[in-house]
Amino acid sequence: MRLLLAAALALVSLGAFAQDQPPAAAARPPTAPDPERALRGKAVFERFCISCHGQNGDSRGYSAQWLDPAPRDFTRGIFKWRSTPSGTLPTDADLVRTVSRGLSHTNMPSWAPIGPRAVRDVVEYVKTFSPRWQTESPGEPIKIPPEPPDGEASRRRGAELFTQMGCFNCHGEKGKGDGPAMPTLLDDWGHKIVPYDFTGGTTLKCGDKPEDIYRVFMTGLTGSPMPSYDGQLSPEDAWHLVHFLQTLRSQ
């Protein structure tokens, strides 16, 4: 009887001990923000990022009202520039890449001069603004097949796809960002959004390599009207479209 009582008490104690453990700890994805690095990242954020992205990462910094496009609101965990499928969280490498590279045609500069450690730290801090990082893991980065040879036939096929897929609705027939749907486009925050003008400027927001353009087709720009064409566009056709868009840039 004593033995049974002791066993019962031990089980209750074990149960109580188990209940004391934070349930989230076991469920925390490995990419959840690292507290130590996030603490260092807070200092980086307060020095470099706060004027646009705001104290709480909600894009309400004191400069935000003057900026077009608006700075990213981190609280919803929605990011455009990812290597991961539409709707999923970006990888740390995606965020590091965006911070290090900056985004041309926006007010986001390249922060590479502050050093890789500060960039990695601030990425950890940025991840603390949205609860999504506590429960979700980033998506699996999409596979980018090798680029087939560029040529007249590929570009012609790309031009056909540009029409067939309805790209012109937003980007315009000549890729100037002046398609018929342009005036109606809003992002997930309700901000007016302008489709990309492929003919203006010398750099692309997403990166200047052909792989960067391919990636945008297949991941989409979550939070904006630009959808993912993964499943609708074969990898081969996606490359044809990349080749066609590059002809628009050089015009």
Partner: protein, 437 residues
């Protein structure tokens, strides 16, 4: 009634202009939307991001730098000044009654920088810094003259390379620590201005000078070089293709270590030579005194400055404790020194600690020492003109946005210059509000 109808569009235009003017955003922070703390470790001292921005010719490289890509209401103008109380005590001040100690305490301005800078085109920058005369608004020691401190145009990425850039006009020489961005207000860097006793040389690397600067940098400005060719300030203009010339060069490299203790190490070498005229033809107007004739100065003699620097960035590049050491040596031709029989030399240097635990607080300490190592003649006391300076300051920036900065600044400095048997000492205290708009 008709007049009223005509007035309405005029009023609407005025309202539109006024609303636009309210959005006008002078200076870099206003242009970019980025807080001042992004470029300044502690304002106005540049951090690595700010240095890279300056080296690139005030560009962030997002195809939004050129004036044509900015709001038409953008006007790249800013100003900076310090208002407050300055206490100054000097020993061994000569009077008819003999040497005495003086003490003054005044309220006033330490100086005013009116600053216009930015881009004329994608790869063309400019900067004009005007210091208007303060007259009686200064700290009442003496009226301060106005000055055009800087005025240059920069051409960037020549031949498509960040290693080839040009500044033409009056510019700051590239120094181990930029004196124009010093965070001490009662003391600059004395070594940059030091001359041996009775020297005719006027070359001071710490002064902005008119000339051409050729400079370059790596992508992130981790490696930088600068070579300036100048007309020396204040020297009589010699009969040469480049009158009273000087050359200054600086090479600087940074290694990003990212350690918990040692975050980065920066090192550099610098040096310059100035050729100073030692004779000139003169013209004596009737009833006047002889005046040198411009373009006739001759017998150029050299003054040389050279040295090395090391900067240790401890703990973090974001909240750093930066320890800097600079060794600064110089020599001057005997013909530049009255009574010298051989070239004279001096050795100087400084040690500086700047701790910035947050974007709002900074603590500064500096020790400088300059010693004559050879006065150029026998029998001349070795300690004449020697200088020791100690400066300590605390700075709290309580307003810090992309529009304005306001800091409370407290500072105490002591400079001791040795003379023949005298040890005059100047102690300066400052409590002020340093602000920029």
């Amino acid at each position: 009634m008709r007049i009223g109808r005509e007035l309405i569009p005029c009023l609407l235009v005025l309202i539109w202009l006024a609303s636009g003017a309210a959005r006008a955003v002078p200076a870099f922070a206003r242009k970019t939307g980025i807080a001042c703390s992004a470029c300044h470790e502690v304002w106005p001292r540049l951090n690595e991001f700010g240095q890279a921005y300056r080296d690139r010719g005030y560009r962030l490289g997002r195809e939004r730098d050129a004036p044509i890509q900015q709001s038409q209401f953008f006007w790249p103008m800013a100003m900076r000044t310090t208002v407050g109380y300055q206490w100054l005590r000097q020993t061994l001040v000569q009077t008819d009654a003999g040497p005495t100690t003086t003490q003054t305490g005044t309220l006033g301005f330490s100086g005013l920088d009116v600053f216009v800078a930015g881009n004329l085109a994608e790869k063309v920058s400019f900067l004009v810094t005007l210091n208007p005369p303060l007259a009686s608004a200064g700290f009442l020691r003496a009226p301060q003259d106005g000055n055009l401190e800087s005025a240059f145009v920069g051409l960037h990425d020549l031949f498509g390379s960040s290693w080839a850039n040009l500044r033409v006009g009056k510019h700051a020489l590239d120094l181990p620590i930029d004196e124009h961005r010093t965070i001490t207000l009662t003391q600059g860097y004395n070594v940059y201005h030091f001359h041996l006793q009775n020297s005719a040389s006027t070359f001071e690397p710490g002064n902005n000078q008119v000339g051409v600067e050729w400079y370059g940098h790596s992508e992130l400005s981790r490696v930088r070089y600068s070579v300036s060719m100048l007309n020396t300030n204040g020297a009589p203009l010699s009969n040469n293709l480049l009158s009273a010339p000087a050359v200054w060069a600086h090479l600087q490299g940074t290694v990003w270590l990212e350690g918990d203790l040692l975050a980065a190490v920066k090192g550099g070498l610098f040096g310059g030579v100035s050729w100073n005229p030692t004779s000139t033809l003169s013209l004596t107007p009737s009833g006047g005194s002889p005046a040198p004739v411009v373009g006739t100065a001759a017998r150029l003699r050299t003054a040389r400055r050279y040295g090395a620097e090391a900067h240790l960035v401890l703990f973090s590049t974001v909240r750093p404790l930066t320890a800097t050491g600079v060794i600064y040596l110089g020599s001057e031709d005997r013909d530049l020194l009255q009574g010298a029989t051989r070239d004279a030399t001096f050795a100087g240097g400084l040690a500086e600690l700047v701790y910035t635990p947050s974007v709002r607080w900074s603590f500064i300490g500096r020790w400088e020492r300059i010693r004559t190592t050879d006065p150029g003649a026998d029998g001349v006391p070795l300690d004449v003109g020697n200088l020791t300076a100690v400066t300590a300051a605390v700075r709290h920036t309580f307003e810090l946005t992309s529009r304005t900065e306001v800091a409370v600044h407290a500072e105490l400095s002591r400079v001791q210059v040795q003379g023949a048997g005298n040890l005059p000492q100047t102690t300066t205290g400052l409590l002020g509000l340093d602000f920029a708009f």
